[in-house]
Symmetry: C2
Subunit: 429 residues, 2 copies
């Protein structure tokens, strides 16, 4: 019997209660696994009232629930940093396992949480924290344990993927689609966290930690969001047989970790290019296993709740009879901080879009700057844009070191003919 104490009755918390009500009998009958929702906790009496009416034990005092003897596992679905951090540490101190979907918390305070769990021999499970319905944590920690992950690219923010997909389908500008996405509930009122790539960076930090076995500090990850992507960039991408995706990226680079989040030109032949709307996807390349892609709902009430419940069943199977060994510190060593590859040392093919006055000789100046910086050009496209008197010059470079490229782009930006900050987007490969 695994006795569950749940904090949070919002979207995901409500979904967990719904699924447990649906499935608890089935788990007992088919898996011999007994779950019990022992206490439901939320901030206010109003929030817990409907569950109290149904006969559940409820509480508005999380500390008390955690300190008590009535639960074996704390399910933290409140969100935020401070209180959840306190609750989770207290739960572990008092011998309770933890299940959470809080990627922001784990990315920020994992170095406190995982070592304490390891010391106490307790499980901290977080399948729902990354990729909602995609069992990617379980896959990396268990399914792919016979291989070393060499690299990973993932679409792990549904809001960004929704916006980029609609921009591509309808030729619309970023701001227009964002507003509509907010209206439809696919983007928050304050969308910064999503569109500037911070949410993706939290998740990428967790995945990079799992893949590398080292602690990857999400604050050290290079992040570029999608708010500067224009309809024009997406039209050029199409012309080049690509689409634009916000990707979380991890590469093993000797002893260092290359982890970053930025928009990418993804060729239409790549399996990630077909992943549209709020769908998430994770591409992995492993030494023994080769390449795999997992695709699924990235967020949403029931997909996320379903991942939480899967963790609970896993935990119950592990603790019902004897104790399955917990993965030490979530399989990565938080003492062992990863050295990240600075973005300046990474290389890629680049899409550069320069906007200049329609003046004679600009192209010559740009190509000279690129040549002076030893940057080889693969393709050049020059087009008039809608603004009269303005010209877009798109350059696709061969594989170039980021530091070299940045220097050249800075030089181009300082040309008097250049009227907008130049756009720089990496190709996935």
């Amino acid at each position: 019997m695994l006795r569950i104490g749940l904090i949070g009755t919002g979207t995901v918390g409500g979904g967990v209660i719904q699924i447990l009500e649906q499935k608890i009998a089935e788990y007992k009958e088919k898996l011999g696994v007994e779950l019990e929702l022992s206490c439901i906790c939320a901030k206010s009496e109003e929030e817990v009232a409907p569950y109290k009416a149904k006969g559940y034990k409820v509480s508005t005092n999380a500390d008390e629930m955690i300190a008590g003897d009535d639960i074996d596992v704390l399910v933290e679905l409140a969100g935020g940093y401070n209180m959840p951090r306190k609750w989770i540490l207290a739960a572990l101190e008092s011998g309770k396992h933890v299940v959470t979907a809080n990627k922001a918390l784990l990315a920020k305070y994992g170095h406190e949480i995982f070592p304490l769990a390891a010391k106490k021999g307790l499980h901290v499970l977080f399948e729902a924290a990354v990729g909602g319905g995609i069992p990617i944590i379980r896959s990396v920690q268990e399914g792919f344990v016979g291989s070393t992950v060499e690299s990973l690219s993932c679409i792990i923010n549904g809001t960004c993927n929704y916006i980029l997909s609609r921009m591509a389908e309808e030729g619309l500008d970023f701001d227009v689609v964002l507003k509509d996405a907010q209206k439809l509930g696919f983007a928050e009122a304050d969308p910064t966290f999503d569109i500037e790539g911070i949410d993706s960076a939290h998740k990428t930090a967790l995945l990079a930690s799992l893949c590398s076995g080292k602690r990857v500090d999400f604050e050290k990850i290079h992040v570029t969001g999608i708010s500067k992507i224009t309809a024009q960039d997406i039209a050029f991408a199409k012309e080049l047989g690509c689409c634009v995706k916000l990707l979380g990226i991890y590469h093993r680079d000797g002893d260092r970790v290359d982890a970053r989040v930025h928009p990418c030109f993804v060729p239409n032949t790549n399996l990630l290019s077909n992943v549209n709307g709020v769908i998430n996807a994770v591409y992995l390349k492993c030494d023994n296993l080769g390449e795999t892609v997992q695709t699924g709902a990235g967020a949403g009430r029931l997909p996320t709740a379903s991942a939480v419940v899967a963790d609970l069943v896993s935990l119950a199977r592990s603790t019902d009879q004897g104790s399955r060994k917990a993965l030490p510190m979530g399989w990565f060593n938080v003492e062992n901080s990863a050295t990240l590859v600075p973005i300046s040392e990474t290389s890629a093919r680049y899409y550069l879009r320069f906007t200049s006055r329609d003046a004679c000789g600009v192209l010559a100046k740009i190509t000279k700057i690129l040549a002076d910086n030893n940057i080889s050009i693969e393709t050049i496209i020059q087009k008039n844009v809608n603004d009269p008197g303005k010209v877009s010059i798109v350059v696709i470079t061969e594989k170039t070191l980021d530091s070299k490229l940045s220097k050249a782009v800075d030089a181009v930006n300082s040309l008097s003919e250049i009227v907008e900050k130049s756009q720089v987007i990496r190709f996935l490969a």
Copy 2:
């Protein structure tokens, strides 16, 4: 400490030894999980000699190894039916866990193996049996346990997918590509098992059992292979915005199970359409989780071996400290046989290709037969084929019951103008 007894030093067995040598120290250091390759067993002294030379304990007597006290888990990678069945049952009888990649054996004798394991409280793990590098067994059994699988479509035979992909890319006929695939090692000398869909049926039976929680007998599954697919069918598929894939299919149909294997027209917008070559993919639709797709290497030495090793690590984590509860009968109840939906009761949109003498009035006769059987036509394409005097008539039907369609096609086949057996391929959706 989990002591491993391995039977089979062939492709996959050799790969398992290779990965264990690579990773055993890492598992101990990072996961605190100790694996030991305690005995390597093969048919002949020649096969085990290289491992004996390396210092491993070896054996040519599997029965003795299984009966002894030196191993905790039997890893069966010999293949075939009779001996592996005997070994696995003996291992379970004497208290050893089992890891195997033998889908044929599990599809045929799972009803003996799983109940015995359940009775003894032992694990039978078989991640490597389906989809090689895709952790699909783990996903269905654990990651998706918070949902009910409503339907599943999968590309799970690399040989067939390789042949169909090359037919599509190069416009070649089946026989030509098959010969080349045999030369390149992508098809066996006797390819029947693969190209006639039997291997896919084994795997589909296992997946359908896991999804339905019932025993799905692979002999009851409707199977059509790919040997009758022509270059012309694939060209028509392209024209219709589709590709042809051999799919394993599962649908929950009330209390019954709809499980089958046959070629399908897959629209190019579907994620499965992009899965080419020897790659495998599994699409799942779940009630709570929504849709997911997992793609990866379907076979091959290291991908398959990597899945076996993942099972061993899982087992070691479960048995090192206390005992993680084994999933009863691999999560499905072999006592509870599934009632399968007869293929005649299934419905689909159909691609029909009729080959007739270039005679007046054939089209009228065909359309009359279809109309008499209440089959609605969505599209008709008529083309001259290379053979002079022959005409191909392609009909795409609206959604039609199989029994109705079969009756109509039989009637068309008996027309004197029809010179070849008519082709019938279902659309995925």
